[in-house]
């Protein structure tokens, strides 16, 4: 006996491999997606009766391939002059299925499918939307809801993005090692973008927040394909460790709760455990990269039972390492927060002072600066910084968070 939920999960998990293989056969994304859709419909009819196949992906590829070939033959009959080249290509595709079982093919199929969503001409949100449609198989309606836009607008966006990758040409040749590494890096960046779409959704448990779960699923998939890649371990660990804090990041009113004030009993210990295990695995390779370093920082937070147990010295050192790999004023700002815990607020203020020209329009810069000034007792300057932060807040929750600082300031000012 199999239930529909199991079939659903089997279809979802087989999708990247099956659509990836069908794309390789048919060399056309729409045909591959249609063929997979056909195979899914047949699975929904056949599996409950005949039981699930031992290898759902292989079943779907075989049935999808036959469905795609049938479709092409039907279309060929309707046209006066059948395209010989297309037909002979399709006959070629009927070579034994054993070919598919080749591990390298399977990896390249899935990687190709993920990689075509990362076309550099596509803006970040379109890459993410396309991946959700093509790789994850979310419906346009689900994606539209996650991005808080109308269904037809999202449909258009996805159609345009697909047209763009079709005209750019899907890379079918087997990638060399350098090219493969490049593709893996592009896919990792796309997965991180997808995660951040969900992460920035705040405390809500809606379609958008679920994007973080989907990003973790894709990261685990990428890691299964590239089990020995420390940066993919780092990426997966980073997502797990950040997502573990999701339930504690916002209070009942939807207001931001800072790390130091979070109820750590709400942190998901299972996700933290998996994240810590992956950080350990990655470190063994001694090939640090930005994802690994960020994961190591998140791991230090995850390991601290109480805020005062946090190893801020180590965190400051890790941010310094991250600055060397990825110089950015935002990373320096984060390092300054760690430095304020070890060397005090003045040291941190000295560190961020040179960043002002570049971060003057950045909400967090003024928020951090205000908090440091407040620690030093410079209330008027702190208030000015907080007011600048509120003016630059990206979400109501960010503005409300700073406003609470200001309220406390007022209160202290009155009682002192």
């Amino acid at each position: 006996m199999i239930d529909m939920a199991w079939i659903d999960a089997a279809l979802i998990s087989a999708r990247p491999q099956a659509v990836g293989a069908l794309l390789r056969y048919f060399r056309d994304l729409d045909t591959a997606e249609e063929a997979f859709q056909d195979a899914c419909l047949r699975a929904l009819k056949s599996w409950p009766v005949n039981g699930p196949p031992r290898d759902p992906a292989a079943w779907l590829i075989m049935v999808g391939r036959n469905a795609g070939i049938d479709g092409a033959r039907r279309r060929a009959k309707q046209t006066t002059l059948p395209d010989e080249a297309v037909l002979s290509d399709i006959e070629d595709a009927e070579t034994p299925l054993a070919e598919r079982l080749d591990g390298a093919d399977y990896r390249d199929d899935v990687l190709r499918l993920m990689f075509i969503c990362c076309h550099p001409d596509l803006p970040a949100t379109q890459q993410v939307a396309l991946a959700l449609r093509i790789v994850s198989g979310l419906s346009v309606r689900q994606i539209a809801r996650a991005f808080l836009v109308g269904e037809s607008a999202m449909e258009q966006r996805i159609t345009r993005a697909k047209a763009k990758i079709a005209s750019a040409g899907v890379p079918f040749e087997t990638p060399g090692p350098a090219e493969r590494a490049e593709r893996v890096a592009a896919v990792a960046a796309m997965i991180y973008l997808l995660f951040n779409e969900g992460y920035s959704a705040g405390g809500r448990q809606d379609d958008r927040a679920r994007l973080a779960d989907e990003a973790i699923r894709l990261a685990r998939l990428l890691l299964r394909l590239y089990q020995t890649e420390p940066e993919i371990m780092g990426l997966t660990a980073l997502l797990l460790l950040q997502h573990a804090r999701a339930a504690a990041r916002f209070d009942a009113d939807g207001e931001i709760v800072l790390l130091d004030d979070q109820d750590r009993s709400l942190w998901d210990r299972r996700l933290i455990g998996e994240g810590l295990a992956l950080v350990d695995k990655a470190m063994r390779h001694r090939r640090p990269g930005p994802y690994q370093i960020q994961a190591a920082i998140a791991a230090l937070h995850g390991r601290a039972a109480r805020p005062e147990d946090t190893d801020w010295g180590e965190i400051a050192a890790l941010y310094e390492a991250l600055e060397r790999q990825n110089p950015s004023p935002v990373v320096t700002l984060n390092r300054a927060v760690a430095v304020s815990k070890t060397d005090g607020p003045q040291a941190a203020l000295d560190l961020i002072a040179p960043l002002e020209p570049r971060l003057a329009g950045y909400f967090h810069f003024h928020g951090v600066r205000g908090a440091l000034l407040l620690e030093l007792g410079q209330q008027a300057e702190a208030r000015a910084a907080f007011n600048q932060a509120i003016a630059l807040a990206n979400t109501p929750a960010e503005a409300a968070h700073i406003r609470r600082h200001l309220d406390r300031l007022m209160l202290n000012g009155e009682t002192r």
Binding site: I2, S13, Q227
Partner: protein, 121 residues
């Protein structure tokens, strides 16, 4: 007689369960777990993290590799230790668990040695 039931399932399918589906499967399994525990038949049981979190030491060369030892179609995802009358009862329990958690396979394997060790949490 002490038996282990080793739980094999397609990890990518299990990892694709929504949180609700995972909770629903665990709730169904828990009915059997609770009954077996009350009957004094179920000892330690556990669920493993994904194979991506695994590391393997090849002893002969002291070689450390990322991932599980065996690359299988279905992965070892957990196990139960049971004190039961024999294979027939074991198969009956495995079928009951299978109705709550379809897909994959249960391997029934008698225990040669059982050391409960320290009580871990």
């Amino acid at each position: 007689m002490l038996y282990a039931i080793l739980c094999y399932n397609a990890e990518d399918v299990v990892m694709s369960w929504s949180r609700e589906e995972d909770d629903a499967v665990m709730a169904r399994l828990n009915l059997t777990h609770e009954r077996l525990t009350a009957e004094g038949k179920l000892g330690p049981s556990l669920r493993l993290m994904p194979t991506t979190a695994a590391t393997t030491l090849i002893k002969s060369q002291d070689l450390v590799i990322d991932g599980p030892y065996a690359e299988t179609k279905e992965q070892l995802l957990g196990f139960y230790i049971l004190d039961i009358s024999g294979l027939d009862e074991g198969l009956e329990i495995a079928r009951e668990l299978g109705r709550a958690n379809p897909g994959g396979a249960y391997e029934l394997r008698p225990l040669r040695l059982f050391l409960p060790g320290a009580p871990l949490t």
